[in-house]
C-alpha cells in the first residue's frame, strides 16, 4: 500500500464473543477512495471484522475486542467517542436489503432528518438517488412505498440512504448475495463509480466479485480452533495472479471453501 492515504486502520485487532475468540490479531489498512474486499470461507469472521469498523458490534451484548481501529487517525473505540457519531461518517449496506417501511423519499430522508439536516432536503434526496443510480427508475413515485421495489432497487435505495448522510467510508456486507446476476452487475458498476468519492470496504464470498471490483483484497481464514486470522492482504491483481500464501492460492483456485 505504497503512498496510499489510509482512512481506516486496524491494529492487532482481536474480537471475542464472551470467552470465545473469533478474530485474532488482524492488521489491515483501508485505502482512501479505493475498494477493499474482504474474502474468506463461511464463518471466517468477515462480517464481524467489517462491523468493528462502524461499531455495529457494540449492539451485541457480550462483544469484546482488543487492539485498535483508527478512523482518519482517531481511535474509534476511545472512551469519549459516541458510536452514533461514527455511524453516519462510516455508512453501512447490509446483506439483505432493509428499506424502512416508508416511502422511497422518506427512506433517503431519514438519515438527514435524524442528523439535523437543515438544507434543501428535496435536492439532497434526489442527488443521493442519482448517485445510487436509482433516480430515473423511481423519480415518478418518490411517495410510494419502498417495499414495492425489486430486490436490486431496494439495495440501491439502501445505498442512496447511506449516501444521504455524507459518509466518508461505506461498508458493504455481502451486498449482492440476495440479488440476481443483473442486479449484482448494477451494484458492482455503482461501486466502481462511488469509489471515486468514497472509500469502500466490501465483504464478499464471491471471489470473482472481489477480483472484478476491488483494488485491494484481504483474505481471512479460521485456524483449527476456528479463530479467524488475516492470511494475506495485498493488491487484488497481485493476490489473484500471484498469491504469496499457499492457503490463499488454494482458496482462490477453489480447492476449498
Amino acid at each position: 500500500m505504497n503512498g496510499e492515504s489510509v482512512v481506516v486502520q486496524a491494529n492487532q485487532l482481536s474480537v471475542y464473543y464472551g470467552t470465545t475468540q473469533v478474530i485474532s490479531d488482524v492488521n489491515l489498512n483501508v485505502a482512501s477512495s479505493k475498494i477493499t474486499a474482504i474474502i474468506g470461507p463461511s464463518g471466517s469472521g468477515k462480517s464481524t471484522l467489517l462491523r468493528c469498523f462502524n461499531r455495529m458490534n457494540d449492539l451485541i451484548p457480550n462483544f469484546r475486542m482488543s487492539g485498535q481501529v483508527l478512523f482518519e487517525g482517531h481511535d474509534l473505540y476511545a472512551p469519549d467517542v459516541d458510536p452514533t457519531t461514527i455511524r453516519y461518517q462510516i455508512g453501512m449496506v447490509f446483506q439483505r436489503p432493509n428499506p424502512f417501511p416508508k416511502s422511497i423519499f422518506d427512506n433517503v430522508a431519514f438519515g438527514p432528518r435524524i442528523n439535523g439536516f437543515r438544507g434543501d432536503l428535496q435536492n439532497l434526496v434526489e442527488e443521493s438517488l442519482r448517485r445510487a443510480a436509482l433516480f430515473d427508475e423511481v423519480k415518478d413515485r418518490l411517495k410510494s412505498s419502498a417495499l414495492a421495489l425489486s430486490g436490486g432497487q431496494q439495495q440501491r435505495l439502501c445505498i442512496a440512504r447511506a449516501l444521504a448522510v455524507s459518509p466518508r467510508v461505506i461498508l458493504m456486507d455481502e451486498p449482492c448475495s440476495s440479488l440476481d446476476p443483473l442486479a449484482t452487475l448494477a451494484i458492482e458498476e455503482l461501486m466502481r463509480e462511488l469509489s471515486e468519492d468514497y472509500s469502500i470496504v466490501i465483504v464478499t464470498h464471491n471471489m470473482q466479485q472481489a477480483a472484478r471490483v476491488s483494488d485491494f483484497t484481504a483474505f481471512l481464514m479460521g485456524d483449527e480452533r476456528r479463530v479467524a486470522e488475516l492470511i494475506e492482504f495485498n493488491e487484488t491483481r497481485q493476490m489473484f495472479t500471484n498469491p504469496a500464501d499457499e492457503r490463499t492460492e488454494a482458496y482462490i483456485t477453489g480447492r476449498f471453501g
Binding site: 462502524n54 455495529m56 449492539l59 451484548p61 452514533t84 457519531t85 461514527i86 455511524r87 453516519y88 461518517q89 455508512g91 453501512m92 447490509f94 439483505r96 432493509n98 428499506p99 424502512f100 417501511p101 416508508k102 416511502s103 431519514f110 438519515g111 435524524i114 442528523n115 411517495k143 410510494s144 412505498s145 417495499l147 439502501c158 440512504r161 447511506a162 448522510v165
Partner: protein
C-alpha cells in the same frame, strides 16, 4: 424397485378415513361453539329486546323494574374503561419498550417476564384488593371513578405488556440495524421506526385487554363501587357503578321483570364492547395503511 419396499403397508383407505374423521370432529367443535353462542344471544335478545328504549338508556335504577334505567352504569363503564385503557397503554407500552429495546437479557428480565405472565393469570378480585389498598386508602381516592379506572388499568396491564412485547419483537431487527447504521440514536430508532411498525399490533392487544376489563365486576365491588347509583358520575372523583355490577344486582333479584331489565343491560354492554372494538380496529387499519406508505 427400491430395497425395503415390501416392508411398507400402505392402506390409503384407512388414512383417508382418519383424515375425514378428523375434519368432521373439528367441524363439530366449531358448530358446538357457535350453537352455544347463538343460544346465549337468542336468550338475551328475546328477554331484553322489548325493554330497550330511550328511557331505559337515559334512566336511573329504580325499585320498579318498568322504570329502571342504566344511564349511570353506562357512563360509569365508559369512564372506567377509558381511564383503564389510557393508563395501561402508557405504562404497558413503556414497560414493554424497556424490556425489549433497552434491558440486556439476563436473569432480571427473565424473572420479570415470568412474573408478568403470572400476573396475567391472577384472579381479578386480587386486583380489587390491591386497588383498595393503594388507590382507595393510601392515595385517598376512595370509591371514586379514578380509583376504579386505575384498578382496572392494573388488571389489564400484564396483557398489554405481553402484547406490546410481542409486537415489538415482530419488528425485524434489520430495521433497527439500518437506522443505527445511519447514526440514529436508540430513541430515534424506537420513536420513528419501531413503534410505528408495532403500533397496530399493540392496539390489537389493548383491544383484547379492554374486552376483558369491560365485563369485570369483582375488583370494583371490592373497591366499593355501588350497586344503586341514581346519578351519573360528574367528575373523576365521583362515586360510580358499572354495567356488570348493575346487571349482577338486577339478576340477583327475585322478580322476573328485573331479569328482563338485566338482559337489556347485557345487550347494551355488548354494543358498547363491539363499538369500542370497532373504533380500535379502524384506528389499526388507519395506522397500518400509513406505515405501508
Amino acid at each position: 424397485m427400491e430395497p425395503g419396499y415390501q416392508h411398507f403397508q400402505r392402506s390409503m383407505a384407512l388414512r383417508k378415513w382418519k383424515g375425514r374423521m378428523f375434519h368432521l370432529i373439528c367441524m363439530l367443535a366449531i358448530l358446538l361453539v357457535l350453537l352455544v353462542l347463538a343460544t346465549l344471544l337468542y336468550n338475551i335478545i328475546e328477554q331484553g329486546w322489548h325493554r330497550i328504549n330511550w328511557d331505559f338508556l337515559t334512566g336511573f335504577p329504580s325499585r320498579k323494574p318498568e322504570r329502571a334505567g342504566i344511564y349511570g352504569a353506562l357512563i360509569g363503564s365508559v369512564y372506567v374503561i377509558s381511564i383503564a385503557s389510557v393508563t395501561s397503554f402508557l405504562l404497558g407500552v413503556g414497560a414493554a419498550v424497556y424490556l425489549e429495546e433497552y434491558a440486556t437479557r439476563g436473569w432480571f428480565v427473565k424473572s420479570v417476564h415470568i412474573n408478568i405472565s403470572n400476573l396475567a393469570g391472577v384472579p381479578s378480585v386480587v386486583y380489587g384488593l390491591l386497588g383498595l389498598e393503594i388507590f382507595a386508602r393510601t392515595l385517598g381516592l376512595g370509591d371514586s371513578l379514578l380509583a376504579g379506572g386505575f384498578t382496572m388499568g392494573l388488571l389489564i396491564l400484564p396483557i398489554v405488556i405481553i402484547a406490546s412485547e410481542e409486537a415489538l419483537r415482530a419488528v425485524p431487527p434489520s430495521i433497527r440495524e439500518g437506522a443505527f447504521a445511519l447514526g440514529a440514536s436508540r430513541w430515534q430508532t424506537i420513536w420513528h421506526l419501531v413503534l410505528p411498525q408495532a403500533f397496530p399490533s399493540i392496539l390489537t392487544g389493548v383491544i383484547l385487554a379492554i374486552s376483558r376489563a369491560i365485563g369485570e365486576a369483582a375488583p370494583l365491588i371490592v373497591l366499593g363501587a355501588l350497586a344503586f347509583v341514581p346519578f351519573a358520575p360528574d367528575g373523576l372523583l365521583s362515586q360510580f357503578t358499572v354495567l356488570p355490577i348493575q346487571i349482577f344486582s338486577w339478576i340477583s333479584r327475585p322478580q322476573a321483570e328485573f331479569h328482563e331489565v338485566a338482559a337489556a343491560a347485557i345487550m347494551v354492554l355488548l354494543v358498547v364492547l363491539l363499538s369500542m372494538n370497532a373504533v380500535a380496529v379502524l384506528l389499526r387499519l388507519k395506522f397500518q395503511k400509513r406505515s405501508d406508505i
